[in-house]
Symmetry: D2
Subunit: 109 residues, 4 copies
C-alpha cells in the first residue's frame, strides 16, 4: 500500500466525519425527527468509526487494513440510509459515506 | 488527590457513558422523537466527554483536572435536560450525569 | 446474544482499557523504554479499540459483532506482546487483554 | 464566531492529530526512546483532544468554546515539549501544535 493511498484514505475518512456530524446535527433540527431516527443513529456510528480509522491510519496502526474493512462496511450502511432522504445534508452525507467506503475497501485488497 | 478518588471518578464516568448511550438509543426509539432531540444531542456530548475523561484518567493524564472540570460542566447540562423527561431511561441518565458531575467537580478543587 | 453477555463484554472491554492505559503510562516510566516500544504502541491500539467497542455496545450499535471481532484480534496481539515482559503491569495487562479477547470472540459466534 | 473560523479551527485540529500521531509513531522507532518518553505521552494527549475537538466542532457542539479552550492548553504543552527535540517529526509537530493552540484560543475570546 502506498503512502499516497494512506493519505487519500485519511482525508476521505475525515471528510466523512464532517459530513456525518453535520448531518447528525441538521437531522436533530428537522421538522419530523422521527423520520430521521435511523439516519441520526447511523451518522453517529459512521462519524465514530471514521474518526477512529483516520486516527489509527495516521499513527501507522498495524491494524489499519482490518479497521478500514470495518469502516467500509459502516460507511456503506450509513450512505445507504442517508440517500433515502431528500434533505441536502443527507444527500451530501450519502456521497461522502459511499466515497469513503470505496476508498477504505481499496485499502484492504 | 488520592488514588481512591481517581478510581471513583473513572467508575462514575464509565457508568455515565453507559447511562447516556442507553438513553441515546432509547430516545431514538420513542414515539415522539422530536421531543427528545435535545436529549439525544446531549447524551452524545456527555457520553463522549465521559469516555474521554475515563480514558485520560486511566493513563494518568497530566490534564486530568482540566478534563474533569469540562466533564462536570457537560454532565450537568445533560443531567438537567434528561431530568425534564419522564421516561425511565431519562430519569436514570439524569441521576448518573448529576452524580458524575459532582464527583468530577471534587477532582478539581 | 443475551443482555448478560453484552454486559459482560462491556465490562471486560472497560477493564482492558484501564489495564492498557495503566501499562502504557508505566512503560513510559521504565528504565529501558526502548524495550517497551512495541508494548507502548499496542497498549494504545488496544485501549482505543476497547474504549470504542464498549461505547458502541452500550449504545446497542448494529455493528457490535463486527466491532467485537476486530477488538478480539487487537486484544490478542496486545496480550501476546505484554506477556513477554516481566513487569507486573505488563503481566496484569496481558491477562486483561487475553480475557477480553476471549469474551469478545464469544460475541461473534 | 463565524462559520469560517469554525472551519479553520477544525482543519488545524485535524492537521495537529496527523502531526502528533506521526510524531508518536516516529518517536517509538527512535534509537533513544527514553529521551522521547514525554514526547510520546504528550503526542497521545494532544492527538486525542484535537480529534475530540474536531469531532465536537463538526457536530456544532454547544460546548465548542470550552473544548477549544482545553485543546489550546494541551496543544501548547505538547508543542513546547516537541520543540525541545531536533528530530524533523518533532519540529513539524511543534509547529502544528502551536498553530492549533493559537487558532483554538481565538475561538474562545
Amino acid at each position: 500500500m502506498s503512502r499516497e493511498q494512506f493519505q487519500e484514505c485519511i482525508e476521505e475518512c475525515l471528510a466523512c466525519v464532517k459530513a456525518c456530524n453535520h448531518c447528525f446535527n441538521a437531522c436533530l433540527g428537522e421538522e419530523n425527527v422521527n423520520m430521521m431516527a435511523e439516519c441520526i443513529r447511523l451518522d453517529r456510528e459512521c462519524a465514530d468509526i471514521c474518526s477512529y480509522a483516520a486516527d489509527a491510519m495516521s499513527r501507522n496502526s498495524p491494524f489499519a487494513q482490518e479497521i478500514c474493512s470495518l469502516c467500509a462496511q459502516i460507511c456503506e450502511a450509513c450512505g445507504n440510509e442517508c440517500k433515502k432522504h431528500d434533505h441536502d445534508h443527507c444527500q451530501k452525507c450519502a456521497k461522502a459515506c459511499l466515497r469513503c467506503a470505496e476508498v477504505c475497501r481499496k485499502m484492504v485488497t
